[in-house]
């Protein structure tokens, strides 16, 4: 790591934080500038569609959408997401505890879970539509599956990873099986599940997008397909930004909650951030 060496001989004209902000803003400005320049160059390329609208056109489209149907679409998408995510987390926690703590069941079923896991929930989209149609159920199934496949690994891992010194302490305190489960296994599992649920946010949200693009009856994805089919590039890009923003907000909110729920994991975070 070359950072300290470089920081060390640079005369401290600007504090590191200020430099980071200035350069970060500069980076964003340059990126938008390049976008704008490209849009100017491509505007004269001729063709029916304006392939790359300038940033401002996308921004206006974003405002327009925000004044109109955005909130209705967002609520549809978020509802699908929230239900699927909740169902996925709960099922993964329960099966994770069972498969993680019971050696026999684990030996029998874990290989199957391992075989299915790498096959992304995205692959299930057409089958899910055959089974559940284009409505809510089908999307909830897909999101739930995506979340389940991520969280189950964390649940199994957490249920198995009781530190040996805590085991000894429990024996010393004379705990019975149930007390051990409640005070050792469960907290460890739930902490891991919490981490897994955050990791699963993006997997779940990505699945919402694909499911809504394919089974386009409602939500942000359906809107995205709609504007795509009318060749409205600025609206397509605005909808993409909405997807990104929603993902960002969810991730930030969940990180905040996670930090509150498990403060002992984040003692260092205040220092580094």
């Amino acid at each position: 790591m070359a950072t300290p060496a470089i920081a060390a001989h640079a005369p401290p004209r600007l504090s590191l934080r200020a430099l980071r902000v200035v350069l970060g803003v500069a980076g964003v400005v340059v990126a938008i500038g390049v976008w704008w320049l490209l849009s100017r160059l491509l505007a004269h390329g001729g063709g029916v569609i304006n392939r790359l609208p300038p940033p401002l056109a996308v921004f206006y489209e974003l405002v327009h959408y925000a004044r109109g149907d955005l909130w209705r679409d967002l609520v549809f998408s978020l509802r699908v997401f929230a239900i699927g995510w909740g169902v996925g987390v709960v099922l993964a926690t329960v099966t994770g505890l069972v498969l993680g703590r019971s050696q026999l069941l684990g030996d029998i079923f874990l290989p199957i879970v391992e075989a299915i896991r790498p096959v992304s929930s995205i692959v299930w989209v057409p089958l899910s539509i055959v089974w559940f149609g284009f409505g809510l159920t089908s999307k909830v199934f897909l999101v739930g599956l995506a979340v389940y496949l991520v969280v189950i690994v964390y649940a199994i891992d957490g249920s198995r990873r009781v530190p040996p010194d805590l085991e000894r302490t429990a024996t010393m305190l004379g705990m019975n099986e149930w007390q051990r489960f409640v005070s050792l296994v469960l907290p460890g599992t739930l902490t891991e599940v919490l981490i897994g649920s955050r990791v699963a946010l993006m997997a779940g949200w990505g699945t919402v997008i694909v499911a809504e693009l394919v089974a386009a009856d409602s939500g942000l994805g359906a809107h995205l397909i709609g504007v795509e089919q009318s060749y409205d590039v600025p609206a397509v890009m605005a909808a993409m930004i909405c997807f990104g923003l929603a993902g960002f907000v969810m991730n930030a909110a969940f990180s905040f909650v996670e930090r509150r729920l498990t403060p002992w994991r984040h003692d260092h975070a205040t220092e580094t951030s």
Partner: protein, 253 residues
């Protein structure tokens, strides 16, 4: 653990598990008299699979999907590692690029599918661009992180031995980051492969994704399930190939 116990744990019990799942699947089909449209029996799926591999259309779909994946993956890895090295080596560049990279990273690749269709139509180029985009961000972030974690003594040794910054970056940092890059390359392959399939659902003229959506629309469910199995197997194969290649490369560990 004795060897009989090991065999029973690793082979026998999983076999029982698979048998149970297949039995429940078959029993459900028979008991509820499900039509093949809803859920074909496992035997029907196997029969479909056997039929499929004998058609040239199937191999064409496999070939198209793999082609789109391989080209996009190569572009994404090359660009991603290059930019990731810049981010990892140059603090100024890192500070300038981080907000842009982080905000683009939240627009998941799937959200780009409609735009790639508007830009590239249903051609291969759209999928290649999409895979490259998906792989690029995974590689940028992991490369930068891996380079930041290189043992500082190695950098000092390199400088002591007379290496300049670029030689140090290329010969020492990148090489020391290789194990992390290898696992990132594997994760990126999984994401890229799924991106191909998802893109083919929405706009394609050939490919495995198109094959199973078409099958779903015409309600030939056994083809859908067979296709899912093929997609899974190809994905696992790609991942195993990258794993084997990186193990051969990282033989010093």
């Amino acid at each position: 653990m004795t060897s009989t116990q090991a065999i029973s744990r690793r082979v026998l019990l999983p076999a029982i598990g698979v048998a149970m799942v297949l039995a429940i699947w078959e029993a459900t089909v028979v008991f509820y008299k499900l039509p093949a449209i809803v859920l074909p029996s496992p035997f029907a799926v196997v029969a479909t699979l056997v039929d499929l591999v004998q058609t040239s259309a199937f191999w064409r779909d496999v070939g198209v999907s793999l082609y789109e994946f391989v080209v996009g993956y190569a572009i994404g890895v090359a660009l991603g590692v290059a930019v990731g090295m810049l981010v990892g080596e140059r603090p100024m560049f890192r500070m300038a690029a981080t907000p842009v990279i982080e905000s683009l990273r939240f627009i998941v690749p799937f959200a780009w599918i409609p735009l790639t269709i508007l830009w590239f139509g249903t051609s291969y180029a759209g999928k290649i661009a999409l895979v490259a985009y998906a792989v690029f961000f995974v590689m940028v972030v992991s490369t930068a992180r891996a380079i930041a974690q290189v043992e500082p003594t190695l950098s000092r040794v390199g400088t002591m031995l007379g290496m300049g910054p670029w030689r140090l970056a290329w010969k020492v940092h990148l090489r020391a980051a290789a194990p992390m890059l290898a696992s990132a390359a594997r994760a990126a392959a999984a994401i890229g492969w799924i991106a191909v399939v998802a893109a083919e659902y929405i706009g394609a003229s050939a490919g495995l994704g198109l094959m199973i959506t078409n099958a779903a629309t015409s309600l030939t469910t056994s083809v859908v399930i067979a296709g899912m199995i093929v997609i899974g197997v190809v994905g696992a194969g790609v991942s195993a190939l990258i794993g084997a290649a990186s193990r051969a490369w990282l033989d010093y560990r």
